[in-house]
Amino acid sequence: MGSESGGVRERTRVAVGVVRFAGDSGDGIQLMGSRFTQAAAERGYDLATVPDYPAEIRAPSGTTFGVSSFQIRFGGDAIRNPGDLADTLVAMNPAALKVHLDGVREGGTVILNTGSFNEKNLKRAGLESDPREDGTLKGYRLVALDIGKQTLDAVSGLGLSRKNAARCRNMYALGLVLWMYGAGIEPARAWLEERFGAGTPVGRANLRALEAGHAFGETAELAAGAPVYDIHPAELTPGLYRTITGGEALAFGLVVGAHKVGRPLFFGSYPITPASPVLHRLAALRDNPDVTVFQAEDEIAAISSCIGASYAGCLSGTSTSGPGMALKTEALSLACAAELPLVVIDCQRSGPSTGLPTKSEQTDLMYAVWGRPGEAPLPILAPKSPSDCFDTVVEATRIAVRFMTPVIVLADGYLVNASEPWLLPNVADIAAVPAKLHTDPEGFQPFMRDEALARPWAIPGTPGLEHRIGGLERDADTGEVSYDPENHQRMSDLRAEKVARVADALPAQKVEVGPPSGKLAVISWGSTYGVVREAVEELRTEGEEVSQIHLRALHPLPRGLGELLAGFDRVVVAELNSGHLRALLRAEFLVDVEGLNQINGMPFLVRDVKAGIRGRLM
């Protein structure tokens, strides 16, 4: 736990805080955010974070397109999304202020690094005048200090070059914001010591900057009128926690999922934004004797290697994003035809084509459901939060093995990078559903089926089961290549029916919030869960009759969904695309589903969802 720091000033008690850090992509903004997150988590807050960073690694300094940001919402309430508007913005340069001032609530606090407000940076940010003087900041509480200079003063005498000394400024700003929210520096100190070593010049300098920023507030140097807060911890279930990003949870889900079906994990992937964190996290598990990670030469080889490994008896997984999904299409169809278990994680991003690689969307749903030539059905699941990425992938591995099918997990760029507290599961408590490898040659043929219509998993090395499979159509009775029309109809029906039956293995659909019938239901899927839930809850508090239905399974659609939809006067799907799920629901249930859609690369804001729903309640 971080130490409480009182300070001399009276602290304002609030339930929830929202802080946004913004600066150059090389300013250490993400680090500031992740260290603030750890401190907030250890104080017992519930929280949600979201980074927003440019596609360029180090965009030209001082420019608006080079601005990187990190927002965290934390507090004593249940926090299910990172919040619309920030209470506090830390703007490390004029460009960051220009880009993010709109994201600060009225009356919010703006911490400005004044040292960066020179003519050159104003010009680079495309500002005609200095926002400190032209009225731009009217209505905000301003905390203006030269963070760069304060940092240099704080770390002087430690023998660092001026450049390296200046790089500690993110720690100074972090210290200050931690103090503003009544948090101590212990978690950040511990991290710095682990990262740089306690006695190294860089470690000492960063620590000194952190302490100086914190002390700046504590010694009441902070300009009068700047707010300081007191936020009570949340009532979270006691236990061992960590914060987890969706990327980490997707990786861990594959490891634990494979373990629980009793097969080694083969992960074949190819680097792509925003899915690479999954590959990195798994590659770091090089000492795990059950995890093999292979960086393939391209997206096609990545999934093809998985298919080979699945055939050989591994639980295989791959991760990618839209452009990679397109390339994997043919191999995914092969996995459908060969009926092999495989988990494909699509971290959706904005398209078409390269689109906005670091921005998030839900625009691959139609592709996932229908985007394979030929009839090639497969199950699709979508996680709703960073930690739910773990549960969803574990579920996906079970389905893949039980039904001998590829499964698509539709995550997105937002989920991969967002984080939240996670009450760590005990892996022993997760049900094991071991895969059954077929070994009996008696009566074997590769496309014989069990009660779930799954074919046997008969792996090379097993005597007496030598057989040939592939992309050509098979005879349903003998497993041999067959061009027979009736057989193709039968096999097409069997593949469809097998996937349809996945719905029986999953929970029937329930409402998430509100009554199971009524005036209006908002349907969400995937990462929009938290925003939609908050919007619906707020509307209900305000007296509106509205429910939320959240889908994890997108194909096949959950049992009971049609009946549920029939109980509402109006049904609105909120999704970050042009209406993919809406079209699927209309086609499936002949219900006049409406859409609440956004395709700007950003997550929904609660206020926009509320307004959209309210407009339909008039």
């Binding site: 960590r242 080694p264 050989a312």
Partner: protein, 340 residues
């Protein structure tokens, strides 16, 4: 697990499946299939440990005709599928069957990387210098001027040399063989399969329908012996019905010369001796062919060095090794905090 079973001296037919072979009459694939079955019989590995992985095309139908495990995958991707399979289970004996279009056109990238990574696969590239299954279009190995439905005026593209490609990709075992030479083919296949690491064999294969006679210059009873150079490690590079020709190196130009051996020609001592371990000689042999030179057949390059590091999976074990406790610890490996 069922006990592995293989006869001590299996007959080639032990490796034949019950499927009726469906290639065109006169297709070179029949001979290659026979050669493969002979090679399998000689190696006598259990059928259950053997997998044939193929892409798309006439040659890629081959796995159906063998009584081993087989996977007829998609166009060009067999090396990638086989790579995952081999990493997942290094104990398997995995053969990749591909063609000139499958392996060097649509799948050229995977071929490059399978060779570069030195995955222990036995890669057989059936080269008939034409697309067969799609009815006779130009392939990346088709010779200049080839007339086809997609090059009615004759091809203007320079063909790729499969052997040079394989050497360039870092292949450590590169060989070339002729479909009909049953006296030599099985031996080369056995050597390829026994080589630790990726082995690449270009199989010159006659397409009797779309490119008939493409290799008749090699098989011709009269002229063939002067066109075929059978290379064998430690033996002089001589050819012709009675070995009356040979290859000599001009050290000043670093070029090979085709010369007559014996009285009136050059002496036997001047003829190069094949050293399959020598990458420079392999490079030279890979570049020569008709009309000025014979075409080298046999093991052109075999790197005897201990296999370089290559991706190996941890998945060969029949059961998983980690415990629930270890995975719980993995989840808790960073940034944990206790809430009370």
């Amino acid at each position: 697990m069922n006990a592995p079973t293989v006869p001590t001296k299996p007959d080639p037919s032990y490796f034949a499946s019950e499927q009726t072979v469906r290639w065109c009459p006169g297709c070179g694939d029949y001979a290659i299939l026979k050669g493969i079955q002979r090679a399998l019989a000689e190696r006598a590995r259990p059928r259950e440990d053997t997998v044939f992985v193929s892409g798309i095309g006439c040659s890629s139908r081959l796995p159906y005709y063998l009584a081993t495990y087989g996977f007829h995958t998609i166009h060009g991707r067999a090396p990638a599928v086989a790579t995952g399979m081999k990493i997942a289970n290094p104990d398997l004996d995995i053969w990749v069957v591909t063609g000139d279009g499958d392996g060097l056109s649509i799948g050229g990238n995977h071929m490059l990387h399978a060779l570069r990574r030195d995955i222990d696969l036995n890669i057989l590239l059936f080269n008939n210098e034409i697309y067969g299954l799609t009815k006779g279009q130009l392939s990346p190995t088709s010779r200049l001027g080839t007339r086809s439905p997609t090059s009615p005026g004759g091809s203007s593209e320079r063909p790729v040399s499969a052997v040079r490609f394989a050497l360039g990709a870092g292949g450590r075992f590169v060989a070339r063989a002729l479909d009909v030479q049953q006296d030599r083919l099985p031996e080369i296949l056995v050597r390829a399969a026994n080589h630790p690491g990726a082995s690449f064999v270009e199989l010159l294969q006659n397409c009797s329908v779309y490119n008939d006679g493409a290799f008749s210059f090699l098989t011709d009873r009269e002229a063939g012996p002067r066109q075929r150079l059978h290379v064998r490690h430690g033996e002089p590079l001589r050819y012709g019905a009675d070995g009356e020709f040979g290859l000599r190196l001009d050290a000043r130009t670093m070029k090979l010369e085709a010369v007559e051996v014996g009285p009136g020609g050059c002496s036997e001592e001047e003829i190069l001796v094949h050293d399959e371990h020598n990458p420079a000689l392999a490079g030279l042999l890979a570049t020569i062919g008709p009309p000025d030179f014979p075409l080298p057949l046999g093991v052109i390059y075999c790197d005897p060095a201990a296999p370089a590091s290559r991706p190996v999976g941890k998945a060969a074990q029949p059961a998983i090794r980690t415990t629930d406790e270890e995975l719980t610890a993995m989840l808790a490996s960073e940034g944990t905090y206790q809430l009370t």
